[in-house]
């Protein structure tokens, strides 16, 4: 190899580059901690997932064996299927509640709307575990209000924790918990729209419903994409609510109910740390692919194109 041009002297360090160096200095503590507590554990988990260890057989290098096993494991696939089904029901439910509430609150400008906004948002302020525990008491056949209410009509209350009802019970908890948070995001986006547009529409003869559906919703599509992305990731990683309810409905919610729960059970209850790492990574990959596909198809609405 030959060089065509010889550098005459070392280039002088520009002021801008000097500044960049100081920037690095400020970022270093973050990067160090990020590396130590995120990259290193992640790398270690990835490394662990390449080994296979059994109770009686000891540990050996397995390459991608655990991943092959994961994607042929009926429990993992079943869990993926289940969270997908949850997503199909839960995400639209959360979205409809959030958007409806935001649109209504946007039109009202009274003290009542402020209080309502706070009330709808309140469930999000409650820690997920506490929320799930609270609902598990509401669902309880003995303490729950349902049994009392049904008794007034001389009927027996449905068992919210039975295997046939548990799906709906979980959807209800998650929607209750998150709709308020999404509502705030959508509401904030609505507030940033210039009211002059509505005025123009009204002069053109549009009524409130038209304005909501034809103007407001399209104009906040990028924040809705964000909301759906959050909801999608959250649903695929579904964990806390079913874990809390499992303590009351161990039969209806098995240890592999969602992929995250499966990884948790494998690691901490069945001592299969290697396979648990592989399951966790497989889920991570699916979450990444899922959100990527979603963001790709909505790149126009989200303004990412």
């Amino acid at each position: 190899m030959t060089t065509t041009t010889a550098a005459p002297t070392r280039p002088r360090i520009s002021l801008q580059r000097k500044r960049q160096r100081y920037g690095w200095f400020y970022v270093t503590p973050f990067l160090a901690i990020f590396a130590l507590f995120f990259i290193v554990p992640l790398g270690y988990a990835a490394w662990m997932s390449l080994f296979s260890s059994t109770l009686a057989g000891g540990s050996q290098f397995a390459g991608l064996g655990n991943y092959v096993r994961a994607f042929t494991d009926p429990l993992f696939i079943g869990g993926i299927g289940r969270v997908a089904a949850f997503g199909l029901v839960m995400i639209p439910a959360q979205l409809i509640v959030a958007i409806t509430a935001a649109l209504v609150l946007d039109t009202l400008a009274t003290t009542l709307s402020k209080i309502s906004r706070l009330l709808i948002f309140a469930p999000y302020a409650i820690p997920v575990v506490v929320g799930a525990l609270m609902w598990s008491f509401l669902y309880s056949p003995r303490f729950g209000p349902a049994s009392t209410i049904f008794e007034w009509f001389g009927m027996a209350a449905p068992d919210f924790l039975s295997s046939s009802a548990i799906f709906g019970s979980l959807v209800n908890i998650v929607t209750w918990q998150w709709a308020g948070y999404y509502m705030i995001i959508v509401y904030a986006a609505l507030r940033s729209v210039d009211p002059a547009i509505y005025e123009a529409a009204r002069i053109d003869g549009a009524n409130g419903f038209h304005i909501a559906m034809r103007i407001k919703v399209p104009m906040i599509s990028s924040s809705m994409v964000m909301v759906i992305t959050f909801a999608l990731i959250g649903t695929l990683q579904f964990f806390t609510e079913p874990v809390v309810l499992r303590s009351m409905a161990a039969g209806a919610i098995d240890s592999a109910y969602t992929p995250n729960m499966y990884a948790y059970a494998l690691a901490f209850q069945y001592s299969q740390f290697n396979y648990a790492s592989a399951i966790a990574f497989s889920l991570g990959i699916l979450v990444f692919i899922g959100s990527f596909i979603f963001l790709f198809f909505t790149r126009k609405q989200s303004g990412l194109k």
Binding site: S140, M248, G251, D254
Partner: protein, 442 residues
């Protein structure tokens, strides 16, 4: 410049490691206060609330060794931490409390020291055969027994009187009593059959002669599995029948609902272990009119009674301990005095496996205020403890229990019968064992 940057980055990283790493291997924090700071310390994880007094007692009476106690959570919470520590290679205490059912699961991971090398057999005579059998496998001793769970039947004498129910001595009479209670129009049921009963359900099966696992730590790669033997099938078919006739409830155990049903009379009978009265005593909102009595657990064949056990715990020494000899001494001696057991029995409602107390007149004659002064040890639990012959658990007991729960749930939901439930369980456990590298006996 680049090098200096790297160096400063490295310095920050090192500082971060030092900050987080310092709590790991130096002085551990203890819940108790240690006054004899010169003595060597042994770290212990245990969960009884009354354990603080036992620790203080031990520390007062020992000058060469002091216990540093931490409550790392009860049962599975503590096991998760221990399991993670094993995987990480550090972080486990010297000694920890373990239920008998998990000993094999930890032994197979080389997490526990074989205490027979540290004089465990010297104290062997202080324990019943059944208790020692539960704490050991073959010649190896994995833990020193502490408390046990010999089973009996606790019942509501007031409900029995009100509806004219006789105290059942056999399971046939038990079924009749359940029917009689329903026919008499009682608002509750005779008992609960929890599908998540885990050790409880397994104990019921064992009473009819079910021995689901054959396992010896001398040959850790071999396991015999027969969860669908005749005993288990007979017992499960019996309960399936009661469930189908609506004579028993099928609520999950240890939930808020279950606890309420226990104390408000919804269940007239609580088939319980010796720690059951202590558990009941700790529950709120008990029925004021409740009159509790204890009776022996019903039998399949009164001519050949079989005693069973539910729960109970022991102290094991972890393989991460750098002073196994001292740790073994702690495991042997912590519940090896009458003073310690006075606290254990009175404060923590433990059922001792240590024979000097277990076989003492004082324990036999102890009157329990909860049972209006009934001598429940003499009447029920001492005989149950003496007749118990031990049980072999699998080295993947947690998995086995989870699967059992699923199959029993499918049964009470009407998706399968008792035989199918146990056959499916057998298949799934065989498959799991093979996949975990075990060779199946049979």
């Amino acid at each position: 410049m680049k090098n200096r940057l790297l160096a400063s980055g490295a310095a920050v990283a090192v500082a971060a490691v030092a900050l987080t790493g310092c709590s790991g291997d130096t002085q551990a924090s203890c819940t108790n206060t240690i006054t004899k700071t010169d003595a060597e310390q042994v770290t212990v994880w245990a969960w009884y609330p009354a354990f603080a007094q036992v620790v203080d007692l031990f520390n007062e009476t020992h000058d060469d060794v002091q216990i540093c106690w931490t409550n790392a959570g009860q049962g599975n919470d503590q096991y998760s931490k221990f399991s993670t520590a094993i995987e990480a290679g550090s972080g486990a205490p010297d000694v920890l409390q373990l239920e008998f059912e998990v000993l094999s699961s930890f032994a197979i991971r080389d997490a526990l020291v074989d205490l027979s090398e540290y004089g465990a057999n010297d104290v062997r005579t202080n324990y019943t055969d059944g208790a020692w059998e539960d704490a050991s496998s073959g010649d190896a001793v994995y833990a020193i027994p502490v408390d046990g769970g010999p089973m009996g039947m606790i019942y509501r004498a007031d409900i029995f009187d009100e509806y004219g129910i006789e105290v059942p001595e056999t399971w046939d009479e038990f079924a009749d009593a359940a029917q009689a209670l329903k026919d008499a129009g009682a608002p509750g049921v005779l008992a609960d059959f929890p599908t998540n009963g885990r050790a409880f359900n397994q104990a019921l099966f064992a009473q009819a002669g079910s021995t689901p696992f054959v396992y010896d730590s001398a040959n850790p790669q071999e396991i015999g599995i027969e969860v669908n033997d005749d005993g288990a099938k007979e017992v499960l078919a019996y309960w399936q029948d009661l469930v189908e006739r609506d004579l028993v409830a099928t609520d999950d155990a240890f939930t808020a609902d279950y606890n309420t049903n226990l104390v408000n009379g919804t269940y007239a009978v609580y088939i319980a272990a010796a720690w059951g009265p202590g558990y009941l005593g700790g529950l709120a909102d008990a029925d004021e009119d409740a009159v509790w009595r204890a009776a022996p657990v019903p039998q399949w064949d009164t001519a050949n009674p079989v005693q069973i056990n539910w729960g109970g715990s022991s102290f094991g020494v972890t393989s991460q301990s750098d002073k196994p000899e001292l740790a073994a001494l702690v495991a042997k001696e912590i519940f090896g005095t009458e003073e310690a057991w006075e606290i254990g029995v009175d404060q923590a409602a433990l059922f001792p496996l240590w024979t000097p107390v277990l076989e003492s007149d004082e324990f036999a004659q102890k009157e329990y205020p909860f049972f209006a002064g009934q001598k429940i040890n003499e009447d029920v639990f001492l005989e149950a403890a003496a007749g118990y012959e031990g049980f072999t658990f699998s080295p993947f007991q947690n998995y086995a229990y989870d699967q059992l729960t699923e199959e029993l749930y499918a049964m009470v939901e009407g998706q399968q019968n008792a035989d199918e439930a146990l056959d499916t369980l057998q298949d799934s456990l065989e498959q799991y064992a093979t996949q975990q590298g075990f060779e199946l006996l049979n």
